[in-house]
């Protein structure tokens, strides 16, 4: 009986611990990344930025990279709206989702674990690297050394 009670106490403790810790685990996570990544914006002509990840605190996915570019690259601008699901990009440089009917900012990535796996994905080859539409929002995207992030304007 004592053994059963102790097991019950232990399980209750684990359960309460899970319930307390898990909300924090779902908060923004800082990714410790070193190296360089490339951000490509499909303007005319195409704008390409190489980002030194050692200088960026990546705690909000691709949005952290865009914030860094906004602060350090002259002329780089972007706009977004925040929602419970994360950031929703509405404008990057001259790509403006509100300027076209049914427009949206398309995010593509070379990081395989972020690929969109649905039948609606788009693939593209950028300088020999395959980029695929992201299955995650800008705030949740994985930032990796050597990755390419391709930003375009699309319509649905």
């Amino acid at each position: 009986m004592t053994r059963t009670k102790n097991i019950a106490r232990l399980l209750t403790f684990i359960l309460v611990l899970c319930m307390v810790v898990i909300p924090f685990a779902s908060c923004k996570k800082t990714q410790n990344v070193n190296g360089y990544c490339t951000v490509v914006v499909a303007t005319d002509p195409v704008a390409e930025y190489k980002v030194d990840l050692d200088k960026v605190t990546v705690d909000n996915g691709l949005v952290s990279i865009l914030d860094y570019l906004k602060e350090n690259e002259e002329g780089f601008t972007y706009e977004m709206t925040e929602s419970t699901y994360g950031a929703y990009l509405t404008k990057v440089l001259t790509l403006d989702a509100n300027a076209v009917s049914n427009g949206f900012i398309l995010l593509m990535t070379s990081v395989e674990k972020d690929f969109d796996v649905s039948e609606y994905k788009t693939e593209k080859d950028y300088k020999g690297t395959k980029v695929v539409t992201s299955g995650l929002g800008a705030s949740s995207m994985t930032i990796e050394n050597g990755a390419i992030y391709y930003i375009a304007l699309s319509t649905y």
Binding site: I7, C18, I22, P23, A25, F115, S118, E119, G135, L136
Partner: protein, 197 residues
Amino acid sequence: MVSKQSVTRGVIFRIALTGICAALIEAVKLALAFIPNVEGVTLLTALFGYCFGWTGVLSAVIFVSIEPLIYGYNTWVLSYYLYWPFVAFVFMLLGKRKVRNRVALTAVAVLLTVWFGVLTSLVDVGLFTGFLTDFWRRFRIYYLRGTWFYVVQIACNAAVFPLLFRPLSTLLGRLRAKFLPEREKIAKKELKNEKNT
């Protein structure tokens, strides 16, 4: 032979019970919604199937039918229809076989929770839409993306089931015996009453 009155009363109780069970599951889901993947739906669905049989299974179906009214329609609706009534059904079978062992019940719950992650990934990746190109590679990417969430859900159920399932099933069993006695017992009671009168 059980009287019509008793049968009618039993049916009315079961209808009411189905609604109450479905509402309870929904309430617990909403109450814990702010904690990602910590849920009491598996526990309650299993309990209701275990204790109330087909009534519990039906309450799971009703719960799943309510969900799109709150959250809208998407691929997860199909996953839910395939999964939650199945949980209730499996535990209904365990209830009929009078399985009481904590470890066995928890093991079944954990296996079902693992299956939930696999099933939802299979459905979301396109198993039922016919989009099968490069299916297993896409499934691997999608499934691994949700690993953290599956681990949390499995850990939650692995802790909750040994703790709560047996005492709650005992409680619900007593309620069932009081409000939904088996037909044989009703028949015996009515026969006894007839003899006395």
